[in-house]
């Protein structure tokens, strides 16, 4: 059985990536979708809303509407205090996770080189 590693990895981190984007600024759906599709984190806007729905249910993000004379009324998403804490926790975990995985999955030669250094 073939395991789609990239899909599994993306699913594991995409929620935190959205939290990271929303920490910078509140964003609307299409904005988020364009960025995440561009980075290969989601397949399409269809993937985004189920994730946002989960994040809202966990009270990690909240939404609000902004009306504009120049364009359509848009629903913006922003990070909640619980979302900020979740993101901080993810960053700490990730910082130790990445080097650990890199070490464990290193090729034989690079592992030898690392042990000689």
């Amino acid at each position: 059985m073939t395991v789609d590693v990239a899909t599994q990895l993306r699913k594991g981190v995409v929620e935190s990536c959205i939290l990271g984007l929303l920490e910078r600024e509140p964003m609307y759906g299409w904005q988020l979708s364009e960025t995440l599709v561009g980075q290969g984190m989601i397949a399409s806007i269809g993937s985004l809303y189920p994730i946002l729905s989960r994040l809202k249910a966990q009270q990690l993000v909240s939404s609000y509407e902004v009306s504009s004379d120049a364009g359509p009324t848009r629903k913006y998403y922003r990070l909640t205090p619980a979302g900020e804490r979740h993101l901080d926790n993810f960053r700490q975990q990730w910082a130790s996770f990445v080097p650990a995985v890199a070490t464990l999955t290193a090729t034989t030669q690079s592992a030898k080189d690392a042990s000689h250094d």
Binding site: Q8, K11, G12, Y28, G29, W30, S33, I42, A43, S44, I45, G46, S47, L48, Y49, P50, I51, L52, S53, G71, P72, T73, R74, K75
Partner: protein, 202 residues
């Protein structure tokens, strides 16, 4: 023209999302509608091309909601803590049968043994164990109390002036003891059946 193209796309998207949860369907259609509002024909066509096939969007939504893994993360046991072991199924069975019938085989002692085994088992909640322990004792005491009251009443009516006369309608002490014994056995049996019916299977 623009409205028609946008509306056609939104309807196709809504149809494609028919099997999704109402919340997800509503959110996706609303999100896409935001993007199509206020665009001219050319912009609408470009945006629709960028959004892609509604069937692909629906497939993405479905894929995103598919569970990745359901197993809970195992927590390591504390250092020095005994490793949890599964309780053998027969333990709860023995406890329930002893509570039900132990008092018949070996009066009182058999029932006490059943209660002792029951308290070692994890098949029942503490509250339930308390009920099974206390209820037969409480009922027995109630029967004794009633017997004492009846005896006192009987002595009060017939004890003076009517030498040797006993009311045949009132139970003798011997009969009272048997009533107490059978009521106790019945309550123990009933609580044993309750234990058997409510024991956790794992």
């Amino acid at each position: 023209m623009t409205e028609t193209a946008a509306m056609t796309y939104l309807l196709a998207l809504s149809d494609a999302l028919a099997s999704e949860s109402p919340q997800v369907r509503r959110d996706i259609v609303a999100g896409v509608r935001e993007e199509l509002e206020g665009l001219d024909a050319e912009q609408t066509a470009a945006k629709i091309a960028e959004l892609g096939d509604p069937a692909f969007i629906a497939a993405s939504a479905r894929e995103e909601q598919a569970p990745v893994r359901a197993e809970p993360i195992m927590q390591p046991p504390e250092v020095g803590a005994p490793l949890p072991t599964a309780e053998p199924r027969w333990l709860s069975l023995v406890a329930a049968v002893l509570v039900m019938l132990g008092g018949i085989v070996v009066p009182f002692v058999g029932w006490v043994a059943g209660i002792a085994v029951m308290w070692t088992s994890k098949a029942w909640m503490r509250r339930q164990k308390l009920v099974v322990t206390i209820l037969p004792v409480a009922v027995s005491l109630a029967v004794v109390a009633i017997a004492v009251v009846v005896e006192m009443w009987s002595g009060g009516v017939h004890g003076d002036g009517l030498d040797g006369f006993n009311n045949p309608l009132l139970p003798t002490l011997f009969a009272q003891v048997w009533v107490w014994y059978f009521v106790s056995l019945f309550v123990a049996f009933a609580t044993g059946v309750w234990l058997l019916a409510t024991a956790k299977k794992d």
